[in-house]
Amino acid sequence: MREFRIFVQKEFFHIFRDRWTTLILLVLPVLMIILFGFGITTEIRNTKFAVYDPSRDAATQEIVNKLESSDYFTLDSYLSSPGDIEQLFKEGRVGFVIVFGEKFYQSMLHTGDAKIQLIADGTDPNTASILTNYATALINTYQQELFASQLIAESGKRGITAETRLLYNPTLKSAYNIVPGIMGMILMLICAIMTSVSIAREKELGTMEVLLVSPMKPFLIILSKLVPYFTISIINYITILLLSVFVLKVPIAGSLVLLTALSLLFIFVSLSFGILISSLVEKQIVALLISGMLLMMPAVFLSGLMFPVESMPQVLQWFSHILPVKWFIIAVRNVMIKGLGFSSIIKEVAILTGMGIIILMASIKKFKYRLE
Amino acid sequence: MKVIEVENLTKRFGSFTAVDNISFSVEKGEIFGFLGANGAGKTTAMRMLCGLLVPTSGKGVVAGYDIQHQSEKVKASIGYMSQKFALYEDLKVWENIRLYAGIYGVPEKETKERTDMLLAELGFEKEKESLVKSLPLGWRQKLAFSVSIFHNPEIVFLDEPTGGVDPVTRRQFWEMIYKASERGITVFVTTHYMDEAEYCNRVSIMVDGRIDALDSPSALRREFAAASMDEVFRHLARKSKNNGL
C-alpha cells in the first residue's frame, strides 16, 4: 500500500509541476461555464432596429416607443427612404427594419387594414424568427390595449386561443440546457483525455517500462495514474455545480446525492475510456488526436449539448447513441434541471454501466496483451 | 593565428553561475578538447561561443567576430553539431545536405558534386535516397558531422558528438575529425570520454564553471603525475563542490 501511495504522489507531482497544465485543469471548467453560459444565448437583448415610417403619426410613434422600451430592441435610426434598408443590412448595423404603411393611423381606425412589414436580416435564421416573433407579439399587445381602450371595436369572437406553459425553465434561460453539457464535456476531457495523454507520455519517454519492471502490479500502476485525475474531476464537478447555482442561477432541482452518484458513474466510464485509448497508442500526440477527434468533437457537436440531435441526419443520430456523454447529459438534465428521481434515468444508468464495463474489460485485456 | 579568444566570460542563470570568468584561446587548425563533468558548464560556454546564448559579462571573439554584437557573422563562419541529433529525420540524406549547404550559401552545382563525393567517402552511396530516420545512430552522427563541415567553416563546434556511439564508430568518427583538421578546420569538441581527450592537441578541464587546467594531454599528465587523462580528470573533479563521483 505504501508503494501505491508513493506512485500516486508521483502522479500529483507530474501534474502540479507543469504550471500551465494545472492552470488549465482548474480554470477550464470556469472558462467553459462562462463561455457557454453567456456566449451561447438566444435570449434577445438590445437588438438594433431601424424604422421607415412615411406616416409619422401617433400610432406609429406609439409602436416604435413600445419596441424601444422593451429590453429586446434598441432604436438605431429612422430611414428617409426604403432604399436605405439594403445599406444598413450590408453594414450589419441592424437586426430588422420595421416599415409602416402610409396613413397608418387612419387606416387602423377606419378601414382596419393598417400595414406593417417586418424586414429581418435572415442571415441568422433563428435570431431572425425570434426577432420577428417578439416584435409581432409587442405590436399585438399594442393592439390589445387599443381594443381595451375601445378606440377601435374588437372584431367579434376570438376563435381558438392557446395558453402556453414553459416547463422547467419558464424564463427560457439557455444556461439550463448548457450546464449538464459542460459537466459531461469537462469530466470527459479531464478523465479520458488527460489520463490517456499522461499514460502515453510515460510510454513515449520510456519511463513506463521502468515502472512496469518494478514489483508493483501493472493494475496498481494504472490505478495510481487514475487517482489524481479522479480527484481533479471531483474538484471540477464541485466547481461546476457552485458556478451554475451561484453565477448562472441554475438551481439543482433534483437530489444532489443522485446527481453525484450519476457523475461518479460517468467518471468511471470516462476513465476506462482513457485507459483504453492509452493502451492502443504509443505517442502523446496520437492520444491527443484520437481523444480529441473521437471524444471531444462529438461531445460538443453530436451529444445534444448545444445542437438538437433530432435535427441531424439519421446517420449522425445513430452515431450519437454510442457516445457515453450523450446519455450522461440526458440523465443530468432529468435529475438536475427537471428534478426527477432515479426511476426516470434507469435506462441511461444501465447504458452507461454497460459501456463502462465493456470498455474497462477491453482495456484490461489490451493492457495485459501489451505486457507480454 | 588565434581563431577563438575568450576573456573573463561569465554566464549566470539567476543566482546560479554556470560559467565563471573563463579565459582561453584556440589556435587555427587545432583540435581543442573541452572537458568537464556533467553540469560543469561546457555546453553553456559552447552555446555562448556559437551565438546561441548571450554572455552575462566578458568578451569572446570567434573567427574574428565579437560573439555578443556580431553573432550573425560568427554563425556564418562556424559549423555546429549538437548533443541531440539534429538533422531532419523526415528528410532524405541528400536533402539534409542540400538544405544546410543552401542555408550557408554553397552554390548548387558544387553541392551536387560534393554530395556524391562525400557519400562515397562515407560509404553511404546506397543511402542517398533513404530517410534519415532509417539510419542507425552511428551513421547519423557521421552524417551530422559531415553536414556541419560541408560549407568549410573556419571552426566546427562539436557538443558530445560521440555520445551513445559504439567504439568502432567512435574511432572512425575521430578519423573524420583529423581529416577535417588537416583541411584547416579548427575543431572545438566537448566530451567526457577521457580516451578521446588523448586525441586532442590541447584540452581544458572545467570544474564548477571554471577552467581548472589547460594544456596538451601529455603536459597535463606530467603536471598531475598521472598515468592517464582519466586520472587527471578524477583528481580535478574531486575538488568540485557538486561532483557526482
Binding site: 500551465w20 497544465t21 453567456f38 456566449g39 451561447i40 444565448t41 438566444t42 435570449e43 437583448r45 438590445n46 437588438t47 445599406q87 443590412f89 450590408k90 450589419g92 437586426g95 387594414d113 400595414k115 429581418a120 436580416d121 442571415t123 441568422d124 435564421p125 435570431t127 431572425a128 425570434i130 405590436i139 399585438n140 393592439q143 387599443l146 372584431s155 367579434g156 369572437k157 376563435g159 386561443t161 392557446a162 402556453t164 406553459r165 414553459l166 416547463l167 425553465n169 427560457l172 434561460k173 440546457n177 457537436f301 445542437f307 438538437p308 433530432e310 435535427s311 434541471i337 | 546561441l52 554563425k75 541531440k84 539534429a86 538533422l87 531532419y88 528528410l91 536533402e95 543552401g102 550557408y104
Partner: protein, 363 residues
C-alpha cells in the same frame, strides 16, 4: 536561403502521413458534416397530444400540426399526466392538450381554449417550438373562421438574404473561417514547437538564417495550403448547398489574407511560449475556445451580457466571420466592412509585433 527552407517545409509536409490527408479531408468535414451537426434549426419536435375532445375539428387540428414538418406525433396520451411522463422520459418535447367540448365551445361560444406545455430545458426547442405551435394554431384558426380578422393591423414578416431561413447558409461561411484558422494559425505554430521539442531548431539557430527568413519559411507553405483549402471550401459550398457569394470573391480573399496574417501571428506567439507540443495544444485549445464563443459563431454577439460583448472585441474570429457572412449572403463590399478591416489590421500588427518581440534566437 528561403528557397532551401521552403523546399524543406514542402517536402516535410507532403512526406508526413497525416498532414496532406488532413488538408483534403478538413474542408469536406467542415463543409459537409459540421453544418449538418451544428444546426440550431428546429425540426422533428416530438409532440404529445391529449385529445379529450376527439371531434372532427380536433383531429383536423392535429393533422394540420403534424403535417407541417416541424412536429411529429410521438404519442397520443389519454391524460395530461401520461403525456407528462412522456416528457420526463424525453419521449416528447411538447404537450398539446385539447379540452373536452373543444369543438362544441368553438361552435357555440365562438371561443375555445387549448393548452400547450413545452419542455423548455432547451430554450431553442422549447421556446421556438411553442411559438411555432402557436403560429400553426393561429393559421388553423383563421382557416376555419374566415370572418375572423387579425385585428386592425396586418403584420407581415420578410426575411431578406435567406428567405427560406436555412441554418446551413448561416454556418457554412463561418466554418470556412475555422478551417482557415486551423491551417494557417495552428499548424505552423505546432510545426515550430515540434522543431523545438526535437532540437532541430537549435541547429537552424546556429546558422546565419535570420528570424524573418525562418518564420516566413514556416508560414508561407501553410498560407498557400490555406488558400487552396479555402478555395476547395468555396467549391464544396457551391456543389453541396448551391451557395455562392453574393459579393465579390476578391473581397473575401483580401480579408482572408488579412485574417491569415493576424492569426498566424497569434500562432507564432504561442509557439514562442510553449516548449512542448502538449503545452502548445492546450494553450490553443484554451484560446480557440474563447475566441470561438466570443465570435458570434453560433448566436449573435448582441445577445451577450455587456461585459461579454466588450470581451468579444478581442476575438479576431468575430470580424472575419462577419465579413464572410456579409459578403456571402448580403453581398457587402469593402466599404461596408471598414470596421472589420481596421480591426483585423490592428490584430495583424499586434500579434506579429508581439511574435517578433517575444521570439528569441538566443537567450
Amino acid at each position: 536561403m528561403l528557397k532551401y527552407l521552403l523546399e524543406k517545409e514542402f517536402k516535410q509536409f507532403f512526406r508526413s502521413r497525416a498532414l496532406p490527408k488532413m488538408a483534403v479531408i478538413m474542408p469536406f468535414m467542415a463543409m459537409l458534416i459540421f453544418p449538418l451537426a451544428a444546426n440550431f434549426e428546429i425540426k422533428n419536435i416530438n409532440l404529445a397530444v391529449v385529445d379529450n375532445d376527439k371531434s372532427v375539428t380536433s383531429v383536423k387540428l392535429v393533422n394540420k400540426i403534424t403535417s407541417g414538418g416541424y412536429f411529429r406525433l410521438a404519442e397520443s396520451a389519454a391524460t395530461y399526466g401520461d403525456a407528462m411522463r412522456g416528457v420526463e422520459l424525453n419521449r416528447s418535447d411538447i404537450i398539446l392538450e385539447i379540452p373536452s367540448n373543444f369543438e362544441r365551445d368553438l361552435k357555440r361560444e365562438g371561443e375555445a381554449k387549448l393548452f400547450i406545455a413545452a419542455n423548455a430545458v432547451s430554450q431553442t426547442k422549447g421556446g421556438l417550438g411553442s411559438a411555432y405551435l402557436a403560429g400553426i394554431i393561429g393559421d388553423f384558426n383563421k382557416s376555419i373562421n374566415t370572418q375572423l380578422k387579425d385585428g386592425a393591423i396586418t403584420i407581415s414578416p420578410r426575411f431578406w438574404y435567406n428567405p427560406r431561413l436555412l441554418y446551413t447558409y448561416f454556418m457554412v461561411p463561418a466554418l470556412m473561417v475555422m478551417v482557415l484558422a486551423m491551417v494557417c494559425g495552428f499548424l505552423p505554430a505546432l510545426n515550430i514547437v515540434g522543431e523545438k521539442e526535437n532540437g532541430t531548431i537549435e541547429q537552424i539557430n546556429v546558422t546565419p538564417v535570420n528570424k524573418l527568413t525562418f518564420i516566413l519559411s514556416k508560414l508561407l507553405p501553410y498560407w498557400i495550403i490555406g488558400f487552396v483549402v479555402l478555395t476547395i471550401c468555396f467549391f464544396v459550398a457551391w456543389f453541396a448547398y448551391g451557395l455562392v457569394p453574393a459579393g465579390s470573391l476578391a473581397t473575401i480573399y483580401l480579408f482572408a489574407a488579412l485574417f491569415v496574417l493576424s492569426f498566424s501571428g497569434f500562432g507564432l506567439v504561442i509557439s514562442n511560449y510553449a516548449t512542448t507540443l502538449q503545452q502548445a495544444m492546450f494553450m490553443m485549445f484554451f484560446f480557440l475556445l474563447t475566441f470561438i464563443f466570443m465570435s458570434g459563431l453560433y448566436t449573435p454577439v448582441a445577445n451577450m451580457p455587456d461585459w461579454a460583448q466588450k470581451l468579444s472585441i478581442i476575438s479576431p474570429l468575430k470580424y472575419i466571420i462577419i465579413v464572410l457572412r456579409q459578403v456571402y449572403l448580403k453581398g457587402s463590399g469593402f466599404t461596408d466592412l471598414l470596421n472589420s478591416f481596421w480591426m483585423l489590421s490592428a490584430f495583424a500588427i499586434f500579434f506579429n509585433g508581439w511574435a517578433v518581440l517575444s521570439y528569441r534566437k538566443k537567450s
